[in-house]
Symmetry: C2
């Protein structure tokens, strides 16, 4: 199989941030499949420090989350938001647990793309932990918010590009 | 398509850490496809702070890397090691750039699995930055080592399990 035909490599290459969504809700079976993908991320010592809270449009916490970001229209427009948290008691290394959270989020973004849905990784929303955790009625002593993944049925085509590999490789193969 | 048949969801669920490899080398075309997968990771502000250095078995740096970890046999046995680094000047947020590195590493791990190869994310090797960067002849003022991905043709079946989703979900869907 050439790498062009490989469905996993293709998903990795073709996935883009999607910031506009139709009104169609996302089924619970789809949300479950997405969270399952997050669950299978690797972690140092297999500590699995991540916790998830899915908040659907219509839930008052969904609108409250919109008030915690510079991009309220994305949250408001989304069918659901998945808050990805680290349980502080389950952490063993700030660096590695946050890297693991990134792996977990990427698994979910790829799953969302593979299901024909669209999403964006909201990062700015974690800057004010107290505000965002309060919107979710979660205790900042217990949780660190890593990101909010806003998702829905895509109402746009994603764009954005990447540096050529030659700019990232410290040395030719 | 059911989620069971979805090749992306399946790869996410079936990938495991592989720590034993055959003697067969990994082709440059495969290494390129793996690094391409890393290149397509998302980053905050699309800053793409990651840099890659691939070191193959036989390269003196490959053996030097083995001296930087509690798991020298894994490095020694691997066909190649990919050092994933952050270029300090390109970083904008310690938390988000490390999360991004995690997303980048996970893309590569999934690509490796999708190509029928196996890998393990070595995290302990980053604890002594000075030692590991010195083994790679890289400047610690310029780079932060995020992980080393050891890879090759699998000579074992992976195992390891995960917590049930119900333990990770703060609230039922």
């Amino acid at each position: 199989m050439s790498t062009d035909d490989n469905p996993v490599l293709r998903a990795i290459r073709d996935r883009r941030s999607i910031r506009r969504y139709t009104d169609e809700p996302v089924a619970d079976a789809e949300l479950t499949a997405i969270l399952e993908a997050g669950r299978w991320a690797p972690s140092g010592l297999n500590n699995q420090p991540w916790r998830f809270l899915a908040v659907k449009r219509g839930d008052p916490r969904h609108e409250r989350l919109a008030g915690c970001t510079k991009y309220p229209h994305i949250v408001r427009d989304s069918a659901a938001c998945i808050a990805v948290l680290l349980e502080k008691e389950a952490m063993y290394s700030e660096i590695k647990d946050r890297q693991g959270a990134g792996a977990c989020i990427q698994n979910m973004l790829l799953a969302i793309h593979a299901l024909g849905l669209g999403a964006v990784w909201l990062g700015q929303i974690i800057n004010d932990q107290a505000l965002s955790l309060d919107a979710l009625s979660l205790d900042p002593a217990q949780y660190e918010l890593e990101a909010v993944v806003a998702l829905g049925h895509p109402d746009q085509r994603g764009s954005s590009d990447r540096k050529p590999l030659s700019d990232l490789l410290l040395e030719k193969l």
